[in-house]
Symmetry: C2
Subunit: 272 residues, 2 copies
Amino acid sequence: MSKSIQSRQIHVRPEPQTNCCDCPVRASALFSAIPDCDLDFTQTHRETQLVAPAKSNLFFEGDQPQRVYTIFSGWMILYQTLISGRRQILRFGLPGDFIGFQRNGNGDVVYSAEALTEATLCAFPVPRLMELMGKQREVVQQLFHLEMRDMNICQHHLLGAGRKTAEEKVAFLLLELFYRSRMQIPEVAGDAMTVDFPLTQDDIADAVGLSKIHVNRVLRNLVKQNLISCERRRLTVIDEVKLTEIAEFDPGILTTQPLFNNMARSVFGSAP
Amino acid sequence: MSKSIQSRQIHVRPEPQTNCCDCPVRASALFSAIPDCDLDFTQTHRETQLVAPAKSNLFFEGDQPQRVYTIFSGWMILYQTLISGRRQILRFGLPGDFIGFQRNGNGDVVYSAEALTEATLCAFPVPRLMELMGKQREVVQQLFHLEMRDMNICQHHLLGAGRKTAEEKVAFLLLELFYRSRMQIPEVAGDAMTVDFPLTQDDIADAVGLSKIHVNRVLRNLVKQNLISCERRRLTVIDEVKLTEIAEFDPGILTTQPLFNNMARSVFGSAP
DNA sequence: CGATGTCTTGACCCCCATCAATCAGAGTGG
DNA sequence: CCACTCTGATTGATGGGGGTCAAGACATCG
């Protein structure tokens, strides 16, 4: 059931020339677990690379795209809308994230995906992903890791949506995105306190389930308390400790499971 | 980080005698995709069967249980709590559900699990599950299905928590559990409008993020509108259409993905 | 330079949380 | 059989957190 609000059109320009596996964020990408020597295989299975302009929709809830996507660069939002038009952002897609895999009983994708900034993506035909999963156990592992991390984040947002105050919700979201931003290029930005932050206050509102007016008040209040500062598309965390305390934020939810990793390693070998 | 509120102790009595694979809900269980002839293998890998008394906790957020569990009978709640003690139910575990697999970066389970009614569970050591996943592709498929369905449900609750009114949230939860209850024994109860419903109004409140007082008012209101009726541990849906409309509920989120199924089938063979 | 999108602030008020009291049913023990 | 207890359901009164409406400030961009 596609939603009625589809004012923004899909604009994606295929650029099959570029090598889609030159991913700057291999560390967190779907195929990061694959030894370099096996990458030939994945390369033969890559499809087109896409560039999604800012504000374009990659797909809408209810579509049945034949591909899944890995984000190389840019930020995306994954959201659902009610008939009334009210939007809820389910999670944010940052480089390395894998989207479009999750379907419902009809094979529909269950959320819409919109590029917040210009974003580059690598598209993979679903059957080829399945083939990969059959041949390379690491893909299965990595897929589980990504899905579980997203599930963790989703559950924590649910906890917040139901049981936190406005300030706590906003603080949590800021910290989540702050950490995820930094984790992308650990060697350069591992301890920088300022990150790029392309969200509007409207986006924040739709992510935490508040009105944009109230988000504004909360943000101004956090600034007044000298916990953060934010000016055009940049976010600075000033008092990380206090903010973490307010949000009850645990960075552990953003990492994958060494337990699973270790246990899996003993069973899953390399590709046959 | 274990929460401070641990007033309820863990009480599980192992009953290794019983065959844990006599699951009455094979249709939705983890190992449902495995052909009967291969069940010998899974049986050799089963561990103890547990009985969790009503109100006992199977594990707490922050624990590192060495096993994962499949629910055979009974209802469980999976929840997180804030330091203030406020509880948010993330999802409900019904027979066939698989719990304890999802971990964070430290290998901790990310939610607490409590039996709402007396529940029987089959415990599987994690390494053996991994072994199974390596040998039987259907286990991997089924695991993805279960995880994705849970993710769907979680996301829809997030949508509701952020953007729905109290009445819409409650209606959604009732329908979700109504359908899931009926799906368990399709041949007998496929079209019954009354199901067992062991939740207290307190539980509903913690699931949808409202106060129990307000949940009570909303329920009484739904009854007054002649949409449902509920008396001690039983729920009857009177006007399914109207209720579905209010909740914007889509039963499709509860089923697994035929798309994934079909695509997977062409690649994954039977066990080697 | 309008035009559009985003941020900011104020005024008003409603949905729902909180507090408090009562009631019904299920055990439980004598 | 009947007090006693405990959990859960119910209803009323009150107030606050945050939604909604409106208007203005500010920035960016064709």
